[in-house]
Symmetry: C2
Subunit: 242 residues, 2 copies
DNA sequence: CAGTGGTCTAGACCACGAA
DNA sequence: TCGTGGTCTAGACCACTGT
């Protein structure tokens, strides 16, 4: 069935997709208005909007209410390096907001502390150009956080941590990777469609004693990020079970 | 703005989502027809279908053309264990189809062989109950494949490989994780909506000499799978760079 | 065949952004 | 205010699944 026109909206989406990926429509370029596009493709507005919704879910089109639709780079991929290793590439600029809070529920479980324990949250938003790229919420037990710089507007140390920089005493890093749709606030912060799935990574780093040094919730928009994990079996020598 | 009714379709989706997750609509249960639902919520058919589309993208509803819409378990999560380690849980039953082919283009690059080199493909579909769960395409250089069982309809060895079973001489496993929408054939094979994002893992395993033993393309539907990666820094001793 | 979902229309009306 | 996208309608017609 591939090659056949499944539906009008798919045909339109295919056409626009080709134009964007081929560069005939430049990244960042404004698309014609939906009324014009609907007229051009000889379909009704809902049908045309349906086609744009497909491209939006792929991250190829950014819709801005009241303005217009814009093409976006299908490239600009960032690679998250797992395992607490330092990434080879230079990390993107990151803006950080620090909040003191008390760990409860899910967060307390992640940090392995009792509910109500003080912790510090670092809300990190990395930027690619002028638009937000990815989001990280890093949680550190309060007594470990102030050692470097608790309220600093920008914390270079944390930037490294966001992208996997090692910390002293780091013994184990466990990373849980899953796919989900962004929450409403995540979609707003990242300026993405709520239908564009994200790569969600929950990272828990523990020291030699088993204490959790850091827990991080990363939200990487699926169209612009990937993660890579490398396991070396020559040094670990494979310990079947403990 | 959360708590406000953003739109009719979101309100309807919220209502149905609650009913499904709360168990008032049982997993596998048939929903009322779209006409009945539209009448019940006092909206037009397109609006109601729009609401169902939201739930479909979350994997909560399965639409079957000509029959009806069905609720699905939001549970039944499978955990993929990275790093070539053996998973703790019993793997799902897997059906395998073996194909001999020649590696070209992307596949040849993955396997690190010249274009046209013989290889064997194992198309593995794991099943949860009677419905397909996840998909793996495992590629092995032809001279390594027949050692065990080239044309066997079911190859237990490969089952282990699919979920991370180790192989002799395995030295390094590199896993690239990203999010994307399924291709048309993947969506058909997995019986999922083409709007339900999947966790795509490209796994390349090499032996001590650096030769690629196996390359695998895994497609794990985002609503029912997650991946976990554990890095032990006490044994690897952290080599900053090579 | 009847019942159901899939697609599309033509147009109304609301909400947002920039002037 | 105007141009834009966002939502919704009422109904037509097609496609699939079962009897």
């Amino acid at each position: 069935m591939i090659g056949t026109v499944a539906s009008r909206r798919h045909a339109i989406a295919d056409d626009l997709r080709t134009q964007i990926t081929a560069g005939r429509i430049q990244p960042g370029e404004r698309l014609p208005s939906e009324a014009q596009l609907a007229c051009h493709y000889e379909v009704s507005t809902p049908t045309l909007r349906n086609a744009l919704a497909l491209l939006q879910a792929e991250g190829l089109v950014e819709k801005i209410h009241g303005k217009s639709n814009y093409a976006r780079q299908p490239l600009s991929r960032t690679t998250y390096v797992g395992g607490g290793r330092t990434p080879a590439q230079t990390p993107l600029p990151v803006s950080i907001r620090t909040t003191k809070l008390r760990a409860r529920g899910h967060l307390a479980a992640l940090l392995g502390v009792t509910s109500g324990s003080p912790a510090t949250e670092f809300l990190c938003v990395s930027h690619a150009g002028k638009s937000p790229h990815s989001l990280a919420r890093v949680y550190v037990p309060r007594d470990l956080a102030p050692a470097t710089a608790p309220d600093a507007p920008s914390w270079p140390q944390e930037t490294a941590s966001l992208l996997g920089g090692p910390r002293p005493q780091l013994a184990k890093v466990e990373e849980n990777v899953h796919v989900r749709l962004p929450t409403a606030s995540e979609a707003a912060t990242l300026r993405i469609s709520s239908t564009l799935a994200i790569l969600a990574i929950t990272r828990v780093a523990t020291d030699i004693t088993g204490r959790v040094i850091e827990a991080a919730l990363l939200a990487l928009p699926g169209d612009r990020a990937e993660a890579i994990f490398t396991t070396d079996h020559t040094t670990t020598e494979r310990r079947p079970e403990g």
